[in-house]
Assembly symmetry: C2
Homo-oligomer: 166 residues x 2
C-alpha cells in the first residue's frame, strides 16, 4: 500500500474534461461526496516513521522493515495495559493527505480503471488504513513496531491485537 | 469478537464506586474522553445480518457462517468496479452501540483487567471493527459475504481487498 497518495484536493468533478489539473489520471472519476458527519474520530496518538514525504514511503510495509514508533496520547496510557502479551498488533490510521471523492481509479500498473473498494489505495471515502505490525518493545506510551509504510506524523486511530492474537 | 458490546452510555466515571449502575464491571476504568472531532466519517452503507440483538450475535465470525449482505449506498456503485476479482475482502464497520470511554476492561474470561488496546473488544475510543470475509456473490450494490458477527443494521465504513489480495 502506498502511503497517503496524491495531493489533497477539495475539488470533485465528473465533467470528462480537464481532470489532469485536479490531479485525476485518465478515466478516473470523482463524485461529490456527502459531508463526513456520520461519526467522529478522536486521534489516539501519532505515528513516527523515517518517511517525511509520500515519495519517500515504501510501497508496502515489511515486518522486517525499519522500527517505527506509535506515540499514544498519555490520556490513554491505561488502555495499553497488557499489550506486551501480543507479538503482533493491528494498527488503524488516518491517511490525512488522501482525497476522498474518487470512485474509479487508474492505478497505472494494471492499465485499467478499478473501483476504489477493489483497491487498497489510500484514496477512499474514509481514508483508514489497516496494517499488521510486529511489536518490538514498549517504553511507556511509546510502542516500537515494524511493518508500517506511512508518513511521519500520521494520526493513529486504533490499536488492537492482530486477528488470531486476541 | 463479540458484536458491539454493552449498552451505550454517555457517563464516564473513575470514582471507584457505583460503577455497576453505569455498566462497568469490577475494576473497569473510564476516562472523560476528548470530543471525537479530529476527523469525520461518512457511512458507505449498512450491513444486513441475521442478528437483531447483541446477545444473538456469535462471539466471532466464521468464514463458513451464514451469508450476510453489505448494502452499499448507490452513490458509490462505481467504486465496486472489479471487486468480484477478490475472493476475500476486508470490511471496516462502526460499532455504533459501543461506549468509547473505557481504558481498562474486565473481559471476564481472563479474570484480570486488560487495557482496551490489548483487546479486540468493541468498546474503544474509535469503535471500528475489522473483519475478513469471503465474497460469495455481487448483485448490483449488494455483496453477499460470509465471516461477519455483527448486528443487523451496522454502519459500513470501508471495504477493500483483504491483505495479500490486492
Amino acid at each position: 500500500m502506498p502511503c497517503h497518495g496524491r495531493a489533497m484536493s477539495s475539488h470533485s468533478v465528473d465533467d470528462g474534461v480537464s481532470h489532469e489539473r485536479f490531479g485525476l489520471r485518465a478515466g478516473e472519476r470523482a463524485i461529490d461526496p456527502p459531508p463526513p458527519t456520520d461519526a467522529g474520530l478522536v486521534f489516539i496518538g501519532r505515528i513516527r516513521t523515517p518517511w517525511a514525504t509520500r515519495s519517500a514511503c515504501p510501497k508496502r510495509g515489511s515486518l522486517d522493515g525499519p522500527v517505527c514508533t506509535l506515540e499514544i496520547d498519555p490520556r490513554w496510557e491505561a488502555a495499553l495495559t497488557g499489550i506486551e502479551a501480543h507479538a503482533k498488533l493491528q494498527v488503524l490510521y488516518w491517511m490525512h493527505e488522501a482525497r476522498r471523492d474518487l470512485v474509479l481509479q487508474n492505478p497505472g500498473h494494471a492499465g485499467t480503471l478499478v473501483g476504489t473498494f477493489a483497491l487498497r489505495s489510500p484514496v477512499r471515502p474514509n481514508p483508514i488504513a489497516s496494517s499488521v505490525v510486529v511489536l518490538e518493545a514498549r517504553e511507556g506510551v511509546k510502542l516500537r513496531v515494524r511493518g508500517l509504510d506511512c508518513l511521519d506524523g500520521t494520526p493513529l486511530v486504533d490499536l488492537k491485537p492482530a486477528p488470531g492474537e486476541g
